[in-house]
């Protein structure tokens, strides 16, 4: 039977190594997800609100709605 010499297996510190890798990976993944959310969802939403209210006039809005005729109390 041919006896090939295998490389020596890593026998110790397996849990520590596993934990270290996964803790780093978890940290990076959560940072990435948070950054994606901030720049994909939060910032566009804040901008949309800012843009809407920049030139918003409630009186003008009300006149537009009254002209279309959705109010029942006034015409």
């Amino acid at each position: 039977m041919a006896s090939e010499v295998l490389a020596k297996h890593l026998m110790r510190g397996l849990l520590a190594r596993c934990l270290r890798i996964h803790v780093v990976e978890a940290f990076l993944v959560s940072l990435g997800v948070a950054a994606l959310y901030k720049f994909g969802v939060a910032e566009p939403r804040k901008k949309a609100y800012a843009d809407f209210y920049k030139n918003y006039s409630p009186e003008k809005d009300f006149e537009e709605m009254k002209k279309v005729g959705i109010f029942r109390g006034i015409t």
Binding site: S3, R45, A48, F52, E64, M65, V68, G69, I70
Partner: protein
């Protein structure tokens, strides 16, 4: 009356068990499944018992030789000792299989079968949709929502161009 009969049955069973125990000299024979057993598990690397329980003559001789210095054992003997102790190596017990294909296929089959049932249900069982789902009604409904400026920042009215009176591109 019924309760006392039930209790007397239980009592009889208890008495007969203890009689049996006394007859066999207080040695209770355990069933095979109640004794410590061998398992091939990744998270239980050293099982409670060896894999081979009843050794043959040559295996018994090998076990005697194991009590001496291990450097006198040949490679084949070491493997033989391993196989007496363990059924499958870690590599063997962790091997993958094609079971996932069966599982996924069966799941998709049953989902498809359910889809057929739902189609038949819609066609033969359900009544007509309410009139509020008609195209004309939905058009009137949407116009009213735009007039009310529903969700003007992120939602429906934000997608409508009020100057050109059309949906924003």
């Amino acid at each position: 009356m019924l309760a006392t009969r039930v209790f007397s049955l239980v009592g009889k069973r208890a008495i007969s068990t203890s009689v049996c125990v006394r007859a066999h000299g207080s040695v209770v024979k355990s069933e095979d499944y109640a004794l410590p057993s061998y398992v091939d598990r990744r998270d239980y690397p050293l099982p409670d018992v060896a894999h081979v329980r009843h050794l043959s003559a040559s295996q018994k001789a090998l076990k005697e030789k194991e009590k001496a210095s291990w450097s006198s054992l040949s490679m084949d003997e070491k493997v033989e000792l391993y196989r007496i102790q363990f059924k499958e190596s870690f590599a063997e017990m962790n091997r993958g299989s094609n079971e996932w294909k069966t599982v996924v296929g069966t799941a998709m089959f049953f989902i498809g079968f359910t889809a057929i049932l739902i189609i038949l249900e819609k066609r033969y069982v359900y009544g007509p949709l309410p009139h509020t789902f008609d195209k004309e009604w939905v058009a009137m409904q949407t116009k009213r929502m735009l007039d009310l400026k529903v969700n003007p920042i992120d939602g429906l009215a934000s997608k409508w161009d009020y100057d050109k009176k059309e949906w924003k591109k």
